[in-house]
């Protein structure tokens, strides 16, 4: 606990706490001489105002919360990086919470945050069914900005990437590179984010007159091991020559499975994944990735939250879409 408070400061200076407070806040009704004295003494004594007292008094916390499914995920850690930078510029503090994809945990975090602990929330939804009503209640009490993992049925400001277009383009790319049977590794299907990616895949197939074979869509399982088994089985049974993975976490087991099955990527199977794994393309040049501007999403989302704080945002339901980058790789070249 910081020991030195405004009263002691005032005492040292033979001033009242009120005067010191005003001086520190650079009030116009304090002589510049007094201000200088106060500032000097504050610095000398290493005075830091107690944030809880100010917050209690002023009903604001200079703190924002970020709720994400996982921190140790390339996309989210980059987004948090962007958020932290913006917050720091404005002398705001950033609280971090991870839901591990559980809506129950998500809800409990949100409820706790209603206490006034934070001035606003940035959230990327857990991929379970969501309680729209609950979100409506929250949004009424606290500014909320959604990013990346969003849901159309929940009203609010949203920052996403061009999920539909990038999935569509990825499939187009696979087709142009000779794929005849393109599978889809499905995830996030409870969210708009996942639905749009899937729709992009489906529409690209349709526009190229590919058969609409429901068997080519593989839904993710409960955990990594299960995903691995599912994908391996999927590849054996369906024998796709191209795969679009809707999340990075499914592309990885797909690699493992190919290795196990002695399938060469990309010679036997071309794999594209939504991914923000730094240097993934370098480590294995056979990897084509849909690279989302994760950092920029964080910056944008945080920026909008601050605009809301400053009453400079007037579109409670706008969705802002940033463009992803399809990083293509040569078909066969590899390092090793």
């Amino acid at each position: 606990m910081g020991e030195i408070n405004i009263k002691k400061l005032a005492c040292e200076l033979n001033l009242s706490a009120a005067t010191v407070s005003r001086a520190l806040r650079d009030s116009h009704e304090i002589s510049s001489e007094t201000k200088a004295r106060v500032l000097e003494m504050a610095k000398k004594l290493n005075y830091e105002p107690n944030p809880f007292a100010s917050n209690l008094r002023g009903q604001k916390s200079k703190t924002i919360a970020v709720i994400v499914p996982e921190i140790a995920n390339n996309f989210f850690s980059l987004a948090i990086n962007g958020i932290e930078e913006v917050a720091r510029e404005r002398d705001y503090h950033v609280l971090i919470y991870q839901t591990h994809e559980s809506s129950a945990i998500e809800t409990s975090f949100l409820n706790r945050l209603l206490s006034g602990r934070v001035d606003g929330v940035l959230i990327s939804l857990a991929c379970e069914n969501v309680d729209k009503e609950h979100f409506k209640k929250i949004s009424n009490q606290l500014p909320v900005v959604f990013f990346d993992r969003v849901h159309d049925d929940i009203e609010g400001v949203k920052i996403t990437t061009d999920d539909y277009e990038s999935a569509y383009n990825a499939v187009q790319h696979l087709i142009e590179n000779g794929c005849k049977k393109i599978g889809y590794l499905l995830a996030l299907n409870a969210l708009s984010t996942g639905k749009k990616r899937l729709q992009g895949y489906l529409d690209a197939l349709k526009d190229n007159n590919f058969p609409d074979d429901g068997n080519l869509i593989m839904k993710n399982g409960a955990n990594n091991d299960e995903n691995y088994a599912l994908i391996k089985n999927f590849i054996v049974e369906q024998k796709p020559d191209g795969i679009l993975s809707s999340i990075e976490e499914l592309a990885m087991p797909c690699y493992y499975a190919c290795k196990e099955l002695n399938l060469s990527i990309p010679a036997d199977l071309k794999l594209i994944s939504f991914s923000n794994l730094a240097h993934a393309q370098l480590l294995n040049p056979s990897l084509t990735t849909i690279n989302q501007p994760a950092f920029e999403i964080g910056v944008e989302a945080a920026g909008i939250l601050f605009k809301i704080f400053n009453k400079r945002w007037y579109e409670p339901n706008q969705t802002i879409i940033l463009k992803s980058n399809l990083i293509k790789r040569e078909s066969t070249r590899a390092i090793a």
Copy 2:
């Protein structure tokens, strides 16, 4: 802002605020009947206690701070994951700050945290020269636990990995696999963490009667581009057949440089790096990594901080060393 406070709750129930407060805190001096009534009403009205009021009153925040150089770094994001999980179990909140390797920013964060905003700090040091005196002052006012990036000259509880041993073993591994000229990509050299890794490298060379050629140590530059140029130049001039990289951020440009130079990894150059890149070994099987238990370090560090809170920690200067894992790869096999 949450609208409903303890007074309104009390009013609804025809009780005093004090009674309600006690009931909510499950005090033994409240009848179970009253408790039930209070709890029910609190739930009904969605009451959340104002944390700033409690914190101001009780002089504690139920919040910890985590200060790291970068969030979007595989090691740190995993560590934060571990920290968040431990904090969540205890209903603590986690504030995140990144220093971008700047000691000035680090110091400014620490100063701001002296205000009582947090009950304790977990920190992984920025790699610049550090102000020991300043840290001493901080530690006197606030519990601090250091993790991974530590400095011997700063007193405090520290959680690290076996930097010396793992570097030593890595070099031994390179030698056993036929390397004759082993380079070292140096970083973190202002910290004990970096010094120990370097010493492990040096001692392994010495114990194997390798010449102690200072030219084989390459110090990192200011940014990625510079590192890339430096490493490329280093490989051309020194022609190492093995390299140990002290951080992941240097291993990556090393890959790029090899590609540019048409050198095959690991046939022409065997590369080992300290790294926590998920699946790095899979993406390129030529990569041998020193895998630090990042998540566990986070869990351990947070656990100790909570022990300090509970006065169940009595070793103000203990260093706890967790073991890294040298993940070896076959010399020549590759996926693609």
